[in-house]
Subunit: 628 residues, 2 copies
């Protein structure tokens, strides 16, 4: 490779011929890093190098030594596979050195992963599942403007292939709706996807028309014309409108052997080709960049600090009163709003999920995302990135719409609370499309998640509050109908615990339920007791983590467990209990009642019974275990 | 209620004053049915009654007595909550009677459910999860035009609230891309959502601009001006372009007490209000409709019939050769293409998933959906509705993007095959965003699903073929890397079976794996054997249904099981095995190795080892069980 010249530092005052040298350096380093790693996406990096060189030199107001400066801009690499380009930028900014880039990229145990994640201090959110970066960018821009009141701007670099994801338009609709003038997306229209030409190829006007139709300003540029790019980014940063810069580019730009050629997606150049490429690009450079500094604004107190002084008065319920857990969630969330870091989001069902209580109490921290569950989660992620505690809520069934966003939030190690209402067949007449019967499986399998499932209003309120102090992604499953309050208002519900509602020395079977099925278990225990069979009843309000100790004791004491859940049998409470017991070597006789057939419409009672999870079925299952 | 006049039959020749009477009848019946049921969405039905009256009288070419006529049009009620309107149409068409409408709607055990499902012969797909109907409509239109070569047209009625779902624009992009001139969406812009005004309220031009930007023709009309609606639908049906009719309407139209009033979403009118409403609407009518007949086209053979003659020659592999299961999937799928009902869809990763093999062999039945996983599933559902056997494929991780569509496909009782490639940490350097480690939990919890996970090329090919004869939603999980072929080409792999690859009378532990972990189990067994410990090894290629018999025998024979999976511990193979054993009362000592921490980049070996699922960990887990 060519010998490196001595270091030169570029800044906003540098002329575009110098910026061009930086772009070439980003290209060279993208090629070098991916060839050294033996995998990666150099050609997707080369197309966007000019865009990024102009951005980081003249527009991105960033402090590379203090990336948590709240006034600083944000850069989201939606096309996460172009990580060589991002890391080459980090090197140019002096955040990492050439050695780290060349010897650790994509290697085990190192932070320069194949797709960027927040293990890097300059990365807000993990990307690599395409079509998500714009959505997160919108969430961060919304948090910066409406919650933090900071002058930070958000820049998102996305690919053209990912513009076919509906989530992109769901997000741009919100950029337009909120008039997020602090938001800019740069679309790197390099015409070639992974397996061939993209859907719109170089039809940059089509992208522009779409962006404008969704309420954004669109600017079409030649993405290799540095002056045009600079003008576009200057306009984008004028603070008047959300902007989409549609940049026509060439994949593999600058390296004639691969430029605009199909078949080079996601492939590092072999060493001999890499050497020729570096030579063609003008050799290795040692340019450094210090771009514009973030504006000097007061470093306002982060919301979490102000929170300590807040007094939260959770709602109190009388034992025996009939209250829906979703109603208790809403009331508790409104009370939690006393903590300034707590924000609520809802997908146009706030009168069902009861987030409308929060909206009434704290309208400035309530976000209506309309029917857009993916963007709701992306907004929540953006707010979490900025230090807030989002509670995002819709029907349990409709959280499945955002599964990929929730999965990626876990990769980003985001802390947020989710609430899914209308769980199970319990909802009644609306029918199966509205019934969450897969949500426990989905949420349990999220890395590091907490899964809570209260059976009464007191525990629902307490667990809603508990989520505000829990790291990672927490999920609260609530029920549509109103059921008797079981616990006094001063009862505590530690995460990982359970409640034994009924027990004696003569217990011969343990009935385990949560939500509506706990009430069925209690009724079943009454019926069994009337027949002389004592049953222990456990309220499994914490599904993950699970109270293995109590279950193990119950297994030992009674020798028989019936687990009843308003969910499909796979991945729910039953399997969680089996896992916990097996890990402790406990093997009671076991019956598992769950929803195994397609439900229809009906009353709650009819549907619970048809699904085989009503009190009568619990009684029969318990008897069958005892008669075995 | 008002007395019914005698029956009159409307048809395409009826004038619009008669069509208005039909619209009023649809309104009256929507009010009556929901009031009688005590729940439902009358106001959302009232806004669209004029649109539907014009459609069914003059444009919907349908045979209500033979809904499977392949030349007939399709109607998809994307706003599934407006089921009273749909069922009122069924009554007007003579498909159901007034008694069924009034006494069974939303009642247990009956087919007129809260949201429509295909238990009704006139319903193609279940709706009720908003933002899906347009997507399914696009899929059906594509199948009708490009596979069936039938003149059928697709009409989709959607609400305005659901237009904020990205999936709507993902779908309209495809309507434009494919130039689906047989597709029309009618957007009922009634301005009010569930909890308040919609995002765009009555900005019908905004909807029109968006539809046009996505390649559709847009027509804005007053949705209560029957003549304007009729003109718009005539244009829509001219066969020149996909069309979006944007209809400005009034929610609750025709009933002054609720018209354009917030707070009446999803609420039946109380009986006294209903009586006043029916009177205001002109009382109960007895109008019948016979709309235009489907064109008389030859009833071409359904693809499944032609299939019987096809000879499928699956690829054959030599034991010991290293072949990736994803490659075997692609080769087997290409071979299966000999069956004319088999179609393949891919989300722009066909060179990774190997569906490109199918594309080469059968380009006319390969569908490139670009990066649009939700639409890929919706296209597959549309093709399944029309009798084809779709195989839809992308990375396992990215199938989570389509979770809600897969869930709803199960409610629709669709038969289709999915394949998720690049499962687990096995993929190596790309990092966690690309690793499917939640897919087994998601797919096991799908109602009626089949979940297959081959470990070698022979079984992958056989199971790919097996999915073509399996009802419901089947899922094949494949692996990125190439591993030794384990089975001879004539080996059979029944769904619900397993293979015991190593066993003896002296087995003291059973190692259970699938995919890459099976190869780790085999290596671990070698290592244990070298130390004098015989281990049984089970290839669990069928995860759902599971081979309970073999596992029970292994539990009994060896007393100890180690289950190893490249997936999060929740909802995967380990819990599937525990469930199966518990149901049979088998309780071996049990160890479960799975991915419990956030992985990074690295080689396969490094990542398997870091996740604790490599051969060394299997050996240690087995020893720990034996030493217990």
């Amino acid at each position: 490779m060519t010998a490196a010249p001595s270091a030169v530092t570029l800044g906003p005052e540098s002329d575009l011929s110098e910026v061009f040298e930086l772009a070439q350096q980003l290209r060279v380093d993208s090629v070098r890093a991916s060839t050294a790693a033996g995998s990666g996406h150099p050609t997707s990096s080369l197309s966007a190098a000019d865009l990024m060189a102009v951005l980081m030199t003249r527009h991105l107001r960033y402090d590379w030594e203090a990336p948590d400066n709240p006034a600083a801009d944000h850069l989201v690499l939606s096309k996460g596979h172009a990580s060589p380009l991002l890391y080459a930028m980090f090197k140019a900014a002096g955040a990492i050195d050439d050695d780290e880039l060349m010897t650790t990229y994509r290697r085990f145990g190192h932070r320069l992963q194949g797709h960027p994640t927040p293990v890097l201090p300059w990365v807000d959110v993990a990307t690599g599942s395409l079509g998500q970066g714009i959505a997160y960018g919108v969430g961060i821009a919304l948090a910066a403007r409406d919650l933090e009141k900071q002058p930070s701007r958000v820049w998102v670099l996305c690919g053209d292939s990912e513009m076919s994801e509906g989530s992109v338009w769901e997000a741009l609709d919100k950029a337009g709706h909120h008039r997020l003038a602090n938001f800019t997306a740069l679309v790197d229209v390099n015409r070639l996807g992974q397996s061939g030409p993209t859907e719109l190829e170089w039809d940059t006007d089509a992208y522009a028309r779409r962006a404008e139709a969704f309420g954004c300003r669109a600017i079409v540029v030649d993405g290799h014309d540095l002056e045009a790019v600079d003008r576009a980014l200057t306009v984008a940063a004028d603070g008047t409108a959300p902007t989409v810069v549609v940049a026509r580019t060439v994949k593999g730009r600058g390296v004639s052997e691969v430029a605009d050629k199909n078949g080079w997606h996601g492939k590092p150049l072999p060493e001999d080709m890499a050497e020729r490429a570096v030579a063609e690009l003008g050799g290795v450079r040692r340019l450094a960049v210090r771009g514009p500094r973030p504006p000097a604004t007061p470093d306002t107190a982060r919301p979490a600090d102000a929170s300590k002084a807040a007094t939260v008065e959770l709602p109190r319920y009388e034992i025996g009163d009939k209250v829906a857990t979703r109603a208790a969630f809403g009331a508790a969330l409104a009370a939690l709003g006393a903590r300034p870091e707590v924000v609520a989001l809802d997908a146009e069902v706030g009168n069902s999920t009861h987030t409308e209580d929060f909206k009434k109490a704290h309208p400035e921290r309530f976000f209506q995302t309309y029917i857009a569950e993916q963007q709701m989660i992306a907004d929540a992620v953006g707010m979490a990135v900025r230090g807030y505690r989002p509670y995002a809520t819709t029907f349990a069934a409709f959280l499945t719409r955002a599964h990929d966003f929730i999965r990626m939030a876990a990769v980003s190690q985001i802390t947020m609370a989710l609430c899914g209402t209308h769980s199970g067949v319990e909802i009644g007449a609306d029918g199966p499309s509205q019934m969450g019967v897969e949500d426990l499986a989905m949420m349990r399998a999220v890395l590091g998640s907490t899964v809570l499932y209260p059976s009464d209003a007191t525990s629902a309120a307490a667990l809603t509050a508990a989520m505000a102090d829990r790291d990672g992604i927490s999920y609260l499953r609530t029920t549509r109908g109103a059921y008797p309050v079981l616990y006094a208002a001063d009862e505590t519900f530690p995460v990982g615990g359970s409640k034994t509602l009924r027990q004696s020395d003569r217990d011969r079977v343990t009935l385990v339920g949560a939500g509506v099925t706990l009430h069925e278990c209690l009724a079943a225990a009454e019926e069994l007791a009337a027949d002389g069979v004592e049953a222990r009843v456990v309220d499994l309000y914490s599904v993950k983590p699970l109270d293995t100790g109590t279950l193990a004791r119950a297994a030992r004491d009674t020798g028989a467990l019936v687990v009843v859940e308003d969910h499909h049998p796979e991945g729910g409470i039953g399997e969680a209990v089996l896992s916990a017991l097996a890990s402790g070597g406990h093997h009671p006789a076991f019956a598992h009642l769950a929803v195994t057939d397609l439900p229809g419409s009906g009353t709650t009672e009819e549907l619970l019974d048809a699904a085989g999870i009503s009190r009568g079925h619990v009684v029969r299952a318990a008897r069958a275990l005892l008669d075995r």
